[in-house]
Symmetry: C2
Subunit: 136 residues, 2 copies
């Protein structure tokens, strides 16, 4: 299997080397073996990096992402702690999608309509807050 320096991993993954070191110190990336002091990665690291980026971009903190990842690497069935986190995060992700959807509606509507006063769009907002589909 191909062996990669931190610079190569950084280039291919599109993540700064400093970030990879940071993830390692934070416990998100396992410390790879060293060749004369330098990190020597296998290609498997890319999958791990993708998981980390996905989790962080979905709103996980570093600490939560660590638990999330540990849930995958344990040999035992998913730890209760991980399942709890996953369930809670699923709700958060749902809430995030809700907000994003509302913002999206608001942006799209504001392209179509020509509210001259903020108040009008606040009315839209109040409607959009609970159910979407109001006209402005």
């Amino acid at each position: 299997m191909r062996e990669l320096s931190i610079g190569e991993v950084a280039r291919e993954a599109g993540v700064p080397a400093s970030t990879l070191r940071y993830y390692e110190k934070a416990g998100l990336l396992p410390a790879p073996p060293r060749r004369s002091g330098q990190r020597c990665y296998s290609e498997a690291v890319f999958g791990r990096i993708n998981l980390i980026r996905l989790a962080l971009e979905a709103g996980f903190t570093i600490g939560e992402t660590r638990v999330f990842l540990s849930g995958f690497s344990e040999q035992t069935p998913p730890a209760a702690r991980w399942r709890t986190l996953a369930a809670r995060k699923l709700e958060e992700v749902n809430a995030l999608m809700d907000r994003a959807q509302r913002m999206k509606s608001l942006l799209e509507t504001s392209f179509r309509c020509r509210c001259l006063r903020l108040e009008d769009c606040e009315k839209f907002l109040r409607t959009a807050k609970r159910r979407q589909g109001a006209s402005c």
Copy 2:
């Protein structure tokens, strides 16, 4: 129209008073008239606060939110700058929803399946990254 102190607004809107002052200094909330030095809000402030929270929760920065709000309050047709921002942000919101959807799929799948090794789920991830619906 009802006049409200910063404390009342804070309580009813569920936002700390310090945050309202911060929004004012940042140019997100218009400075309300003062009664013997103290801020005297009208109920209209709640709509504005809702807009701000929605924008921030959808990933707008403070600066972007300021432009976004100014687009609504101008008497002229939407400023070009605002339309540009809105278009760009619409794309970002779409990307955010994409990532959230992938994270959601990943979380839901990891509830259903029992990956014993991280690698298996990385395979899922790679599939999920482009199109969703892979089985683990």
